[in-house]
Assembly symmetry: D2
Homo-oligomer: 465 residues x 4
Amino acid sequence: MAKKKRSKVWAARFGKATDQQAEAFTASIDIDRRLGRYDVAGSIAHARMLAKQGIIPEEDGEAIVRGLEEIGEEIEAGRFELSRELEDIHMNIEASLREKIGPAADRLHTARSRNDQVATDLRLYLKDAIAGVLAVLRRLQGALLDVVEVNRRVIMPGYTHLQRAQPLLFAHHLLAYFEMFDRDVGRFQDCLRRVDVLPLGAGALAGVPYPIDREFVARELGFSRISENSLDAVSDRDCVVEFQAAAALTMMHVSRLAEELVLWSTAEFGFIQIDEAFAGGSSIMPQKRNPDVAELARAKTGRVYGNLMSMLTVLKGLPLAYCLDLQEDKSGLFDSADTLLTALEVMAAMVPGIRVNAERTQAAASESYSLATDVADYLVRQGLPFREAHGVVGQLVRYADERDRGLSELSLEEYRRFSPLFDEDVLKLDVRAAIEARDVPGGTSSRQVAAALKRARKRLEGGKR
Amino acid sequence: MAKKKRSKVWAARFGKATDQQAEAFTASIDIDRRLGRYDVAGSIAHARMLAKQGIIPEEDGEAIVRGLEEIGEEIEAGRFELSRELEDIHMNIEASLREKIGPAADRLHTARSRNDQVATDLRLYLKDAIAGVLAVLRRLQGALLDVVEVNRRVIMPGYTHLQRAQPLLFAHHLLAYFEMFDRDVGRFQDCLRRVDVLPLGAGALAGVPYPIDREFVARELGFSRISENSLDAVSDRDCVVEFQAAAALTMMHVSRLAEELVLWSTAEFGFIQIDEAFAGGSSIMPQKRNPDVAELARAKTGRVYGNLMSMLTVLKGLPLAYCLDLQEDKSGLFDSADTLLTALEVMAAMVPGIRVNAERTQAAASESYSLATDVADYLVRQGLPFREAHGVVGQLVRYADERDRGLSELSLEEYRRFSPLFDEDVLKLDVRAAIEARDVPGGTSSRQVAAALKRARKRLEGGKR
Amino acid sequence: MAKKKRSKVWAARFGKATDQQAEAFTASIDIDRRLGRYDVAGSIAHARMLAKQGIIPEEDGEAIVRGLEEIGEEIEAGRFELSRELEDIHMNIEASLREKIGPAADRLHTARSRNDQVATDLRLYLKDAIAGVLAVLRRLQGALLDVVEVNRRVIMPGYTHLQRAQPLLFAHHLLAYFEMFDRDVGRFQDCLRRVDVLPLGAGALAGVPYPIDREFVARELGFSRISENSLDAVSDRDCVVEFQAAAALTMMHVSRLAEELVLWSTAEFGFIQIDEAFAGGSSIMPQKRNPDVAELARAKTGRVYGNLMSMLTVLKGLPLAYCLDLQEDKSGLFDSADTLLTALEVMAAMVPGIRVNAERTQAAASESYSLATDVADYLVRQGLPFREAHGVVGQLVRYADERDRGLSELSLEEYRRFSPLFDEDVLKLDVRAAIEARDVPGGTSSRQVAAALKRARKRLEGGKR
Amino acid sequence: MAKKKRSKVWAARFGKATDQQAEAFTASIDIDRRLGRYDVAGSIAHARMLAKQGIIPEEDGEAIVRGLEEIGEEIEAGRFELSRELEDIHMNIEASLREKIGPAADRLHTARSRNDQVATDLRLYLKDAIAGVLAVLRRLQGALLDVVEVNRRVIMPGYTHLQRAQPLLFAHHLLAYFEMFDRDVGRFQDCLRRVDVLPLGAGALAGVPYPIDREFVARELGFSRISENSLDAVSDRDCVVEFQAAAALTMMHVSRLAEELVLWSTAEFGFIQIDEAFAGGSSIMPQKRNPDVAELARAKTGRVYGNLMSMLTVLKGLPLAYCLDLQEDKSGLFDSADTLLTALEVMAAMVPGIRVNAERTQAAASESYSLATDVADYLVRQGLPFREAHGVVGQLVRYADERDRGLSELSLEEYRRFSPLFDEDVLKLDVRAAIEARDVPGGTSSRQVAAALKRARKRLEGGKR
């Protein structure tokens, strides 16, 4: 069992150094280094408050703030050096502060604990991460609207069960994804509201015995509220789970869009071509042009689901207040946030370059009895109850299918074998008419789609949902 | 391969009956029977609208509504008989309607599809389920506040890492759970806002070619908005995932509370006694008195986590619009809603019966160097920087620990060996003083806890968060 | 708080009845009723052993066995009535036994506890469930081989990234699934080995103070070994997790096969037609013929994944020995076993009815530059290093693609523009030749596929992997 | 959209460079760099085979092997420089080889594809990872046996529901963990058997058109078998899931042990003291001595569960053969393997340093009516049926409990109030006798525990389970 000199803040209490394996196991510096900028910001606000309240001498407060600002600059510039022996980012910063300003640094940790400190850092990080996600979600929504705009007259088959169902405007199909991402925006905004609460001042778990001004710190750091209960403040990681859950839902949407891009760019569908800049080749098959980005975006759903499950597992059955288990909150969070951001960004970059093969999609929309529902609806307008009309057209389709013919290839006479209500005009049903007939709010008619596009643009601009 | 006569609505299209195994596999009637009341309500609103818009004859509309109301009564009374051959609840209801009112029933399915119909039923169910969850969450919060009230003077050790850390008011500890459940309330309310959107009118996927009035239907059914995009309306199950995620978070909170109840009622802690009415015995050990309810509530977290993961898995990579995969949305949802409701209810019933052993909790709070932080803070008030004070007290604790003595058992002289700043008054530090010293918003002082309790009551009464 | 008379075995110890809500919450009878037959079998073996060892009087032993056999018959015949007040299946059986044979029944629970009893029942169930899964896995493998046999000359495009890659025998593609299910067989067999251990005799947690003969009971019940440690025996649920994990992997394979069936039966691929007996229609679109069974099999992967996650969550951080949390082991296990069995069965029933459109698959295999790798390999045989050859053919494909021509539509002169190594015979490359050239073990040549089929049949017959 | 010069192997086929964001998104070099040594080994075996079979010139084969050996040394020495533009480790190695040996390097990729190459690398890695896990599992088991040995006479309370149940030997309790880890060993060994299959030779998906010798390559690389089906070989990731599932189960066991260590080292239990070298302090509370390592080991269960769920999600519904989704197999696998290894190692290092407070555990075992079952068994030996005896003792316990007395504090007369069968000797029941009475295989008597320890040692030494 290799031991080493104890450089811990609690060294005085123990007779023995930490086992090196244990130290490596419990060190969080490789992960929490990303909290550096937030830790500095939080400490500056804390120090200002301590001085303002007379808890530490004013000149010490000023020295601390000055030193921390320097450290903040070093961090931003990538010049801040980390020591693994100092275990975590907080101790690294405190140690550097002591080097810079001397013993005054020892007053910084007055009236706080690492427990409320790290909870504060985490929330500052989350606020930034959510802002980033919201921005790129909006960008992806905008990219979708641009593709909608360009292809607003393109007709494609609508699918249920991946079987052709009814003809659609391609624009209408893409607008469905606009809606999904819009709900994602809403969920992240709701999450942000619950993140926006300052835990600092909770101390280790019970509050602190100093006359601190928590509202001042909240204002300094841009938090809307302060936490209500100190135990909850240090042991709550709900916002991490909520972020993870919102990310999982968003990635699920990404995976659905990605799946469709993969399908549509197969030789068999041939509906779209993904720009070469987003395609991959093969080390052995010279002809390949693979939808790499879409596939990987789809796959990365897995890690975001997994991170959600990890965090839920960590928290299950954990007693109050802080337990070291909570240290496992960050790596999955960072991974999910990074994955989500890059997946959304690369989708937002890829989507505008999609070229739609409109001839092919329109041809596909006209095949496979896609107008069967419209024929049934025709009979309803002739007075037949829908359920009966559905039955008649079912037989009609079976008749045509057995002869390997389309509905438009049948004669009026053949139609009439199934119902006398059929008239000349049934032969005039076509894909375009079927689309325009669905002129209800939310429907695929070109009028409704144009209105939906307009509303969508407005929502994007207004930033509201 | 056993076959049987095809009783499906689409029978006319196929030459062959469905395989019995396939039919059993795809039938959803055992699950979706719970949607009966919602299906009836949705169909009534739809029929009224069809008649109002002149899409079906007024008298047919009236007959349909009358028939459905009868069916609704049968369902509520548990008299509605289900046939498995009719595959799902929707077809059962439609078939029963036809028996009651004849061919007019065949007009009900005009201008809608099972896809938008089932999406509507699901949202009506979810609105009810969320209302139920919110009510019982509030009840559990109220029960916690009652226990807080009764035990407001009880002192206990606060823990971090399950090691005694600083003394607390027991009331303060319980109030942390009030906060957790309050965030859960917020999440379910946010979820409800996104559930509260009517999908009916989306048809199979593209909208319908009839002059329907979606806003009318929304008003009839109590929805605040109508869906924006028909494809999204039929293939969106976000609200199921969001409910599952909110349920998972809530159950996580339940599991943490349950864990503490289990720990506190061990012989070793001996902090509380759970009422016998909520305890279990053993088939072999006559003395046992097990915290059965708490254990099982903790364990049931697992199934709610699992249901969340199930639904996320189902939706991953699913192309638009409706796929049969979506049929798997209900069983996990019902299971999570039921589990959550019963777990919250049984906790709300058990919590008021908890008896706290205040002598034991207070004694525990006084042991194990729980006042060490206060001694360090004492030195800070004497002018020592906190980091230094922390080091001094670390040595002091080690000194006492090696002699197996408490801090209060040391003499002033012994204190002074570690720092000359110690004075008589350090010997007066006690548990009560330590608690009252933490008099910052969110802290454990009796003043703060009383204020927090008052605010909590107000939030409960006002129904706002 | 509604209370009722306490009918529990431990009633004597408590002063109070169980709360009804708590009773409903902790009752397991709705779930564990399925263990009835195993509980009877376990109790019979236990009673025989008690009598043989002289722990209970011989005549009591005989009475108990007789009574239990009667109960066993009632259970098999569906005539055994359950009382919810008796909480679980074990107490129901014990109560019924007492009714049948009187006080002798009170001796049955000597030298055992519900903890080792339920662990035994669970393992008896698992042995049956695994046997069932193995049988239907073998049936599905057999069904796949039949389809392989019938279609052994059918050519199809092989895919990577869902882009056409190289031509294949359809039989070769299906044999990949044979291999997957074969590994599943292996995993369930391994799981069975670890299930096959008798826990009875562990008592509540510490063993029992009676001269029992555990090996005798193991032989009676068909277990190969007895458990090594009593605490482990009652708190181990590894085999449930292992079953769940094996089920998750198997369902993952089912989902991959299902996905391909869904894709292949789209209008766009048009590779196969699923028998109507396994297809579904639409309530609104009369033409639909949906791959319902495949979709639902794919979706049910979700619940099996979820059940795995549930059980892992339940067990995380659980102290020894038995905790009531373990009661949550069964519902997910039964659900996964049922889901897996029915999904495999319905796949095994559906697969033989698949009709392959061989013209279409062969035509697809000939398009999209599927032979590009073979052209590169041609150049390698002419002496060019592979990496260089790959580059040459990449340019060649790009040239053809820009002109919208296939490789077979280029002239030898055009080929030579890219490399002088091309000769007449490059024009003779075709799909069949490409397939036959891959004549390495595991490759797609007809010789290899025939050999693989033969080996597969042998493995199925021999029952070995 | 920033573009850059295309340095891909497939550059010739495309007219355009890859988008930089897309490139960053799809690059795997940060993850798959760890496969370097395996890639080199696989390529050396492949090159040797190509030369032996006359597929490439012998001198090229030799040059390739020489170059690769050099690269292998660079990798081991940490001197191998990676270029991110070369996308993955395979292309980095191939590029470096070309620099070293010139155009002969271009022949290495003959008769293979990245698909079978990466599948081979992954399996080589997994074999190493499993060997590592098995070794450290054995070490941890050994450490447990050492603690068992040292504390073999220590008595502690056995728990069910975390309530004291029956007295135990501490050694018996720890041996339960030996059994758990032993099953883990078995599962990893079974997994290894399925990993031990060579995929190389499968080519991109269909096999290769060269006379390769797969068995030779298998022997060179130490694989027992070659894969049966080329499509399966490149798209199978079962072994990753199986490893993840075995890791999840093992971590679950770690979490249970960790939970008990955390509980036992609370002030309330006070059963053990964890060595200071494995404990953590607090930044604010000078007295703290936290079970950091145990807590974090418990928490890390979450990430391993999550990684399992991630991989299952990735694979769900994935069509054959290789899709880029499979690239997501490695990061979670590496993370789980690393987490598992370090968690097991640190536990193996910590366990031997645990000091048991035997006085305290024995005292606890004597309290709380732990002998109640033995009193019931006493009555059974006096002829009472167990169920009746259980009832009598239940009343007895209730009587004592209401008077706040232990069973040993009751007089014989008091005993007799509940049953005339009680005699003098009932007063002689004690904890030691209760333990020794459980002298059945798997029971807690010192004879059984000694035998179990002996068998365990033998299993460890024999390396068999």
